[in-house]
Each structure stands twice: as C-alpha cells, then as structure tokens.
C-alpha cells in the first residue's frame, strides 16, 4: 500500500502546475461566466435563463449571425480547397525546392492581429499597394470601392485565410507524408497518374486530417473578433461595428454594461466550439491512436 502511494505522489506533484492552470483558467472562468450569465441587467431585472433568450432575440444578434455565417461559408471551403491542392502539389515531388516553397507559404502567418490590419490596409489601398496594377485592372482606383460593408465578409475571409493557410498546408503536407510508400508504389505500377493518385489514393487517406482542419477552422472562424473590431474602431470607423458575434458580446459587456447578456452569448459560442471539439474526439477516428497509447 505504502509503495503504491509513493508511486503516485511524484506524478501528482509534476502534474499539478498544469492542472492548476487548467482548472484556474480553463474551468473556473466557464463556471463564473455561467454564474454571470444568470445575473441581472438593465435589460433583464430578473436575470436567470431569460438572458440567453434575450441575447438571441437582441436586434444585433441576427445580423451578426448572418455576417459570421457568410464569412464561414466563404472561408472554410476556400481554406479546405486551397490547402488541399497546395499540399498535394507540394507532395508530388519531394525536391529541395519544397523547403523554400513551404517557407514562403508560412510567411503570411507572421502577419496576424493588428499587423494584419496594417498590412491589409496598404494591400487594398489602390494608390499604395504592391498589387495596385491588379487592383487597377479590376477597375478599383479608390479604397472606398473595396472597403464597403458588402465586401467585409470577403475581406475578413481573405485575412483569415492568409494567416492560417501556411500552417495548414504544412500540416496537410505532413499528413500526406504518412501515406506508406508501398501504397503509392502499387498505384504507380497500376498506371495511376499524379491526378488519379491524388483523387483516388491520397485524398481518401488524409480525409480525417481534412475533417480535423474543417472543424478547427470553423470553430476559430466562429470566434472572429480582432479584425472587424480594429478596422471598425480606428481605420474605417463604424464599417464593421457589431459585425461578428464576439463583437456583439463585447459591445454588450463594455458598451451596454450588460454583463449577463455578454456572458450568455460568449457561453453560447463556447458551447458550439465544445460540441465541435467533442465530435472530433468521439465521432471521428482522429484521436484513436492516442487513446490507444494511453493504455
């Protein structure tokens, strides 16, 4: 008995710093936010679960939901398609050029958050942009032609795409490497060309990585905040005010002093991401091997 107890104490000691952070900043905030979401506000003097209903029926909710939905419908499929194509093209030949290509593709990942706003401001400013010839050829000579509310979903999708594409291409390129050489060799002997190889052999074999990517890009996209908030608060003022769901939550908290509503909305968004995560863990085979390893 004594020996077994000894066996566990060091494990707990080494595990506890992480466990403390996990509980303190992963679990406790959710419990506190749930408590807040039950609280009272000017909008709801009684508090309680009504806050959730009030937030969903808030006049700002539906437009933001629509914006984020359009953004996701553009962003997620484009991301999946381009990343898959690029990863497969890279994988066709494993030359030394691949190293430099991949390094180039990861560069935009360094341009994120407030730097992304700065850089995209210039990229889409027809008088200053390195792409100005392309913009002019499209008949765009003034920034206002691009920066209008109808285009916001496309602009935010483009920003998010370029920030994330490099990482995902590397990951999917990596997943393609895990396909065994024998399978590829056999397909090659059967006369499969590079395209057939990609569509009939490689794609089905990396499907679970693509599902993984689709769920994670969806979850991250749902939480869109920084880009619309920064653009709208300081560059093109008001152009994307309350544009995304997280902005609505932020405005509820800091502009309307309705913390209960803000907490309710952010918990609803968190819930969607939690469900997506749980589906990945329990309904796909993505983490199978790791659970098997856990013994």
């Amino acid at each position: 008995m004594g020996r077994r107890r000894q066996w566990h104490i060091p494990s707990w000691v080494m595990f506890s710093p992480y466990l403390f952070l996990l509980v303190a900043f992963g679990v406790v905030p959710i419990i506190l936010a749930f408590g807040s979401s039950m609280g009272t506000s000017m909008a709801n003097k009684d508090g309680g679960l009504d806050n959730y209903w009030l937030v969903i029926t808030d006049f700002r909710f539906l437009p933001a939901l629509r914006n984020v939905a359009i953004f996701l419908v553009i962003y997620v499929p484009v991301m999946l398609f381009v990343v898959t194509v690029m990863a497969i093209l890279l994988d066709v030949r494993h030359g030394s050029r691949n190293k430099y290509l991949m390094l180039a593709l990861i560069v935009p990942a360094a341009i994120t958050g407030s730097v992304a706003i700065l850089v995209w401001y210039f990229m889409l400013e027809p008088t200053l942009s390195p792409f100005r010839d392309v913009l002019n050829a499209m008949g765009i000579t003034q920034a206002r032609q691009i920066w209008n509310s109808g285009n916001m979903a496309f602009i935010f999708a483009a920003m998010a795409f370029f920030t994330g594409a490099g990482y995902w291409i590397l990951i999917q390129y990596g997943s393609l490497q895990s396909i065994s050489d024998e399978i590829l060799e056999a397909a090659h002997l059967d006369g499969a060309g590079p395209v057939q190889m990609a569509v009939h052999i490689k794609l089905p074999l990396i499907k679970k990585y693509l599902v993984f990517m689709a769920v994670l890009t969806f979850a991250a996209g749902l939480q869109l905040f920084v880009e619309p908030q920064l653009i709208s608060s300081s560059v093109y003022v008001g152009i994307a005010k309350g544009w995304s769901l997280n902005q609505v939550s932020y405005d509820l908290a800091f502009a309307s002093a309705n913390f209960a509503g803000a907490a309710a909305l952010s918990l609803l968004l968190l819930l969607v991401c939690l469900v997506a995560g749980l589906l990945l863990i329990f309904k796909t085979d993505f983490f199978d091997r790791s659970e098997h390893l856990a013994r």
């Binding site: 066996w7 566990h8 060091p10 494990s11 080494m14 595990f15 710093p17 992480y18 952070l21 996990l22 900043f25 905030p29 506190l32 381009v82 690029m86 030949r93 190293k99 991949m102 180039a104 593709l105 990861i106 560069v107 990942a109 360094a110 958050g113 407030s114 730097v115 700065l118 850089v119 210039f122 990229m123 942009s129 390195p130 370029f162 990482y167 590397l170 990951i171 990596g174 997943s175 490497q177 895990s178 060309g193 395209v195 769920v215 979850a219 749902l222 608060s233 300081s234 003022v237 932020y250 913390f259 918990l267 968190l270 939690l274 997506a276 995560g277 993505f286 983490f287 790791s290 856990a294």
Partner: protein, 289 residues
Amino acid sequence: MGVSGFSIGRYTVLGLFALVSVIPMIWLLLAPSKTGAQLQSMSPFAFGSFDNYILAWNNLQSLDEGVIVRWIMNSVTYTAFIVFVSVVTATLAGFVLAATRLPFKQFWLIVTLIAMLVPPVALVLPLFIEIKTLGLFDSPWAVMLTSSLFPFGTFLAYIYFATSVPRELYEAAKIDGCNEYQIFWWVARPLARPLLGILAFFAFVATWTNYFLPFVLLASNENYTLPLGLGVLFSATPALNPGLGATQLPIGRPEVALAGLLVAIPILVVFLLSQRFLVRGMLAGGVKS
C-alpha cells in the same frame, strides 16, 4: 509532354501562391525605408534609405514619451514568462500522462483534448469576468497567468513521451529504483530537446501576436503589449485614417509600418530558425509516430 506539362503547371501554381504570400512581408520590410510622400510616389518595391528607419524610430518615440519602448519591453517580458511557464508545465504534465501512473489519466487526457480544441478566443470574456473577480484587472499578471495554460503543448508532450521515447527506458529506470522525478530528470528530460523546441515555438508565436486577451484584460497604455500599441497608433494618429485629423505627432505611415514590422520580425525570424523541425512539429499534433 504530359508529365512536363503537369510539372510546369505545378510550379506555376505553387510559385504564384508563394509569391503572393511573400509580397506583403517584403512590402512591410521596405515601407519604413521611405518617407510618407515616397510611399506614394515610389514603386512599392523600391528601397528608400536606411536613414528613414532611424528617423521613423525616433519619430515613434514622440508618442507618450517613448511608450513604444515600454510596449516592446512588456511584450518581451510577458512572452518570456508565458513561454517558460507554459513549456515547463506542459512538458511535465505530458510526461506524467505518458510515462507514469496517474489516477483518472484517461479523463485528464480528454479534458486536455477539449481544452486544446476550443479556440482561446472563446474564453476571453469568461476570463475577463474571473480576472475582475480576482482584482487582477489591468495587471500584467492577468495576461501572464491566463496565457500560460497550454493544453496543446501538454498533448504534444504526451504524444512525444509516449511514442518517441521507448517505454522500456522508463521501465528500466523504474527497475533500477528511480522514482518519477528521477525518471523525468535522467531519462525523459535529456531526450526532450526537440520537443522543447516545438513547444517553445508554438507558445512564442501564439503569445507574441495575441491581441484579444490582453486587449480585454489590460487598460493602461503602459501595460500594453506591442500588438496592442500598434492598435493605439491606428487610433491615435492619422496614419491609416486621415479623418482622425492631423496631430502634433510626427507619426505617419512609415512610422506605423515600422511598428508593425517590429511585431512581425521576431515571428519571421523564429520561422526561419525553426523551419527544419516545423513540418515534423506540425505533424506531431497528428498521429504519425
């Protein structure tokens, strides 16, 4: 013909995409070398002069008595703390999950997976409520503590210690009478160098560029990080929005571009330094062993 046609097409598509990917960064590197007027008159890819970088840097210092230096120091301090704490805690936890006996191990693994799959942004408002309750609002500790939770790192460390280190090594050390601390220190730690590099890479990139969390948890200018400071420059100067009117400050587009460059450069350097293990590290999040 078919093969070489495919090959040409392949390099054209990849090459074009690579080109579009690097152009914004090249532009950003060159922008502060030009004056505001030159940004308009010269080619976007023209180089102005080195002196303009110095000039832009000196001009940036005119804001709030050189608060930009403070932002840089804050970014460096917060990031150093967070990278250190998150990498150490994740490595230890990953080791415990992979190589020792721990009650409810499966449960901790699943909780870690869930925490890793939920985007950090989703927790910002709940964390704000917690930080307010703790009385830590607008304290650097608010950012440093909350950002040190690194479930993705724990998962990577777990995969690493479970697959890259042969289980027999742990068993042998146990038979030789080592306890868990000793197994970690003498067996796992010396073999964990590649892992530490990958973890530090991810922790650094995520922390250095983080915007939303510090934006919500901090309030005073002097506690801000460099990315937050860049946001301040957007709204405090007419650089990106002439509508904000001329201020007394000599901060225009080249200055703001330089501030953006200061945020982007460390990430770029880290990419260059770590490209060797980048592909492998990315994949470690998957399941290839």
